[in-house]
Symmetry: C2
Subunit: 223 residues, 2 copies
DNA sequence: CATTAACCGTACCCAACGGTACGGATGTGT
DNA sequence: ACACATCCGTACCGTTGGGTACGGTTAATG
């Protein structure tokens, strides 16, 4: 009873558990509230607002996260940790499989980028991009959004190339091309307030179009 | 000497001249200062900072622009008015000419989007996109950036189609594709603080690549 | 039961900033 | 010369929100 009692709470209640960035259940609750408020109205995201809705005290917020920027950084990182997915890996691939992977990727990308959550976080990160101390939010978002999806798709492209489905190419450049074909001006327009709403059907169509165009650019010449 | 004296000052000194949004020389100076500060450090863009550097009084700022949002809106609109260019128009076009137009467009687009000015304005507009009254800044930026460049390029694409250089297409969709090919993830990365610097040489290369890819997607099949 | 620690709620302090008011200077038209 | 308007500089006010301090409560530990 005394030996294993620590495990019952999930973690020690302090912010710094065994892992330096371990979060207690209660802390995750607070960060969820922060995300909630951020999506509702970023301008009204104040420490007191977070404390009130989370039924905690401001003092606790400062104790856990240092200051406002710390809270925001923790929030962005927390959300990032929630959407982590496993990288693609397969040695053998054919055109059908690659098509599936590309379309799935584009679908996921467009779904994310047009979601309220992503829009709110990107708005925040863009406006706070020149932070003073610590890692700027923009870097965290990039690390999660752009620099994590890239490495996830590139192996599939490389495999397609090795399998002779795609002609020889630079995977980084090819990835960026595919990104451009899939996203086009969608994200920036949404960020700027254009109410460009994409239905699942739209997203599916866009994903298929981008994939087809990608093959037009990069398919290996028919033997 | 007394008859023509009005012309010497450029306009009447009041904000509302013959045209409702006419700006006096002095007012343009103030807006230039605002842009300056915005580029230097958007977080430090305060009314008192503008007044100090512009050697004017806060009262004057409020008199001219109403409030802070009014000043920002006027600033964005002012900058927009500075970069206005004439739309493309030509009935006859061949592939070489179209290539030139497309590359020139992509060059201009990338130059703008990677400039400090554009980055600063887009950051501002993105973060203020849910404004309360009046036209949100994001709409102004979109109107100038995305929705003015589109109509400027589309006639060229349409002409290329009519001339048989391009296969039948939807100009809006084709434009968005070209935008995606040219910009890819460049703009969002820069907005998020990734210091992705493009030299003129890089921009030229990107413009040529995007144009070549566009032709790959949309060139009319060789007779 | 006593001690300790975390934490909630509230109140408080302080700096920054948006917005306003006023006095003085400059310039212009009559 | 006089009236009038614009505008600068400065001082001022009110609010907001980040950050801190403190008392009261709960709960785990010995």
């Amino acid at each position: 009873m005394l030996v294993a009692s620590v495990d019952d709470t999930g973690e020690a209640s302090t912010a710094i558990g065994s892992s330096p960035d371990a979060l207690s259940e209660r802390q995750r609750e607070v960060l969820d509230v922060t995300l909630e408020l951020l999506i509702e109205n970023a301008a009204a995201l104040t420490m007191i607002a977070v404390a009130r809705r989370a039924n905690c005290s401001k003092e606790t917020l400062y104790k856990w996260f240092g200051d406002r920027d710390g809270l925001l950084a923790a929030t962005v990182r927390y959300q990032a940790s929630k959407v982590r997915v496993e990288p693609f890996e397969a040695n053998t691939i054919d055109k059908a499989k690659l098509t599936e992977v590309l379309e799935g990727f584009a679908r996921g990308l467009l779904s994310i980028l047009t979601s309220d959550m992503s829009v709110a976080l990107n708005r925040l990160a863009v406006s706070q991009s020149e932070a003073k101390g610590g890692t700027p939010l923009g870097q965290i978002v990039l690390q999660n959004g752009r620099f994590s999806t890239g490495p996830r798709l590139k192996p599939a492209i490389a495999a397609g190339m090795r399998a002779g489905v795609l002609r020889p190419l630079d995977t980084e450049e090819a990835f960026r091309d595919f990104y451009g074909l899939a996203v086009r001006d969608t994200q920036i327009r949404i960020l700027l307030g254009d109410d460009l709403r994409l239905s699942p059907k739209d997203i599916e169509a866009e994903a298929q179009r981008a994939t087809a165009q990608f093959f037009t650019l990069y398919a290996a010449p028919a033997a």
